[in-house]
């Protein structure tokens, strides 16, 4: 961390985001969103569908520009610091004609035009560390969904970015694989101390992983509340049994469903 540690890894300041719908009407996706994520912090965005979680994430990948306000990476405009960011999608999005290793190396190939032996060694080490060592030369369809997503994470890590953006990365996985992947991600985060911004629909997942959970509300998307998670690190399966865990998930549910407890109970049961 050469930059002053006080510089936030990511910041959104007074961001408004409007889209034109098909009939020309203006749709407000984000309303006056301000958020700063500290270096090394793990922050989750939760909220109902259409609350602009993914839009917020796309702002910091430079895929869209804020209509009003500004987005910054490590204190500089998004475009200037894009190579400090790695992105993980909801689907593994591996190119099915490339081996796992070549998929992981894709960002290197795009950035530098070619792939050296040192890059290959790095890719293999990454795959090794996520338990995919023996699958480096396999094609994506030969791997299970969880393994494919791990390869997707390796691809995001290959350039050793400071910031990892994850857009519902485990949303397409079954519940068991999903839990395993959470702990896998915590292990990676513990080893490498990246800044992670994690979009999810799952409240327990957000609480288990994060330092802070940003709760958003829909139409237009804005930050409803930011809930700090006081659970000790490293987090394990046992963390989920702690009273603080229950308190946090409950607090977040209450924010999302309002104070209407009846609805909250139904929501929790779902």
């Amino acid at each position: 961390m050469s930059e002053a540690a006080a510089t936030p890894a990511l910041s959104l300041e007074g961001v408004w985001q409007a889209f034109a719908s098909a009939d020309g009407a203006e749709v407000l996706a984000l309303r006056d969103l301000s958020l700063a994520v500290a270096q090394g912090e793990f922050v989750s965005l939760v909220g109902p569908s259409g609350c602009g979680k993914s839009t917020a994430l796309r702002l910091v990948t430079g895929l869209i520009e804020p209509t009003r306000g500004c987005a910054a990476i490590l204190g500089r405009p998004v475009e200037a610091n894009l190579d400090r960011v790695g992105m993980v999608f909801q689907k593994p999005t591996l190119l099915h004609w490339l081996s796992i290793e070549d998929n992981v190396l894709l960002p290197v190939r795009v950035r530098r035009g070619r792939v050296g032996e040192a890059d290959r060694t790095r890719a293999r080490a990454l795959l090794e560390s996520t338990g995919l060592g023996q699958f480096a030369s396999k094609l994506p369809h030969e791997l299970s969904g969880g393994m494919q997503q791990r390869a997707g994470i390796c691809r995001a890590l290959i350039q050793d970015p400071d910031i990892l953006l994850m857009d519902e990365p485990f949303g397409a996985l079954d519940a068991l694989t999903r839990e395993q992947m959470c702990f896998e991600l915590l292990r990676i985060w513990g080893e490498r101390r990246k800044t992670i911004v994690f979009v999810t629909h799952s409240i327990p997942e957000a609480v288990l992983l994060s330092d802070r959970v940003v709760v958003m509300s829909a139409r237009p998307g804005r930050i409803e509340s930011i809930v700090p998670v006081p659970l000790p690190r490293p987090r394990t399966l046992e963390s989920m049994a702690l009273p603080d865990f229950q308190a946090c998930t409950q607090a977040i549910r209450r924010i999302i469903y309002g104070h209407d407890t009846e609805r909250a109970v139904v929501g929790a049961a779902l």
Partner: protein, 285 residues
Amino acid sequence: MDMTPSVPSSAQPSDQPRLLPPLSRSARWWRAWQGVAIPALTLVALVLLWEGAVRVFGIPNYLLPAPTRVLAELDKLGVRLVPNIGATLLTVLAGFLASVVISLPLAVAIASSPFVARAVYPLLLITQSTPIIAIAPILVVMLGTGQLSRATITFLIAFFPLLVSMVTGLLSTPREAVELSRVLRTSFLQDLWLIRLPASVPFVFSGLKVAISLSVIGAVVAEFVTANKGLGYLITQSTAFFNVPLAFGSVILLSIMGVLLFQSIVLVERIFFPWAVQSERITRE
């Protein structure tokens, strides 16, 4: 966290009793070869039926010659068939290659720019709505009676389906792959070369398979209009003299040529793009 994928194994674990009776040798042979054996046997049966019918009902040669008679007629020409087969093959390949070489950049242009797409599509539709056989004589006047006319006619007949599948392929890149490409900030050429072209390979190959079959048709049409040798030329000449067996022989040679060319495209796909064959199978499932 044990996530090794299940590897289909034919070996029987030693501690597991065998429940099913072992397959007999002939059953195993049948399983391995039925894909070849069934069509081959059907073909042989049909040829025998044809031969038998011609002989039993005494059908005259100029209506339906027996397979043996067709073979005899081809045998009579012998080595003189070779330049005719060669001429047709040359026209087929020239038209086919022209289709590939012209369709690919055109498809990239259409897929990358809505402007080009809107400008070019109506023209393409006009060329496709015009019966090529109708403009073939005009082309001969314009381009002469040589190979160029024949290749052009073949190209005009073969290129359109190829172009359409290439465009479809380039536009059907999965949405997530497009997003990935944008996040990685690929250049136009990188996006094309690393992501969109490989993603379109299965489509390109189905287009190539249609195009090679149409090229054979195109070459025969061209030879009907202008040629002094070739299998299409043989057909017009032999029917003019009521040598129907030779016409049949030429048609059979054309079919064999078509099948072999089609199969060579299949082979190229299997050898160089095994993942494309794989992904076709996966999407079909």
